[in-house]
Amino acid sequence: MFIKKISSRAARRGFSLIELLLVLTLAPIIFFAVYSNFISGVRLWQRMQVGTPEEDQAIFRMKTQRDFQNVLRYAAIPFAGEKDGVSFMAGIEADDKLGGKRAIGWVHYFYDESADAVTREVKDFNQIYRESAGKATQMARGVGSFTVVYLVKEALSSDYEWKEEFRPEKPGELPLAVRLIYTTQNSAESTTQTYFIPAGGSIA
């Protein structure tokens, strides 16, 4: 009976002023801490979702650089440079059935408009002479435009110029450098990647 009376009184008493003030002080502080935590989490998540164009560019550069450093002078199958693609003979990864890890093959970089991708096609000698399709891999996805230009030394003026296409005047001739210019969906600015070809230049 006594206990019942106290409980009833306590229920009617409500909060003291001190309790109310403490709650009013602590509640905004806790709300702010939780809110800022939530907002910073959401921002971080959004930033991670967008992806980094630099990461895609770095991977693309790493993959393509090896090919352009291994361009070979090969008279029978010349270097062919167009505005929207380039093909050449280079060191490639060999099929295990053919033995060896590296071999000589044909590499073709071109812009696949239907897939918005820069594609690399590789053929070994069997595929070249049978004129069958090579192994195609998408090297960069979400590409809006893709242009290739070639650095050559003008024979008459001895000036160095970037040209939109390259056709060897002598068998086995190579451009001095190749520059890939492309735009991606992640970046408004165009990206430029230049590769000097160690074996590049004219030959005697």
Partner: protein, 130 residues
């Protein structure tokens, strides 16, 4: 015994218990937020470093091109990116031997108040071209 349990159930939490809980919750929230901000810093540093590496790779190729027309020289400038500036410097040192140079590239910027520097040195050589 039964009466005491009944009283405890009615009493609920004391103010001290409530305040202590709130303090622990806030401390936990602060620790989580600190971890998130640290993750954001690491991510920013990673993208900036990638940007700088890509720029330096292209700058080396530009140096090779400049060497073709005898325009390779020491220079400096500012690389501008959204909300960030990278101060860069290119030093060209002639080496023993014809057409052989050492190119020192350095970039400096700040990430969350901390100064960062990236350095790259390459040798560039120009063979005689026809």
């Amino acid at each position: 015994m039964v009466r005491r349990d009944h009283r405890n159930a009615e009493a609920g939490f004391s103010l001290i218990e409530l305040m202590l809980t709130m303090i622990f919750v806030m401390l936990g929230a602060q620790m989580i937020q600190g971890t998130m901000l640290r993750a954001a810093d690491v991510y920013g540093r990673y993208t900036d470093t990638l940007k700088v590496i890509l720029w330096s790779q292209e700058q080396v190729e530009m140096a090779r091109e400049a060497l073709l027309s005898d325009e390779l020289e020491s220079k400096s400038g500012v690389l501008e990116a959204p909300n960030k500036e990278f101060e860069w410097r290119q030093d060209v040192v002639p080496m023993e031997g014809p057409n052989l140079y050492k190119v020192d590239l350095s970039l400096s910027w700040t990430e969350s108040g901390k100064p960062l520097t990236f350095q790259k040195s390459v040798y560039v050589y120009q063979k005689d071209l026809l």
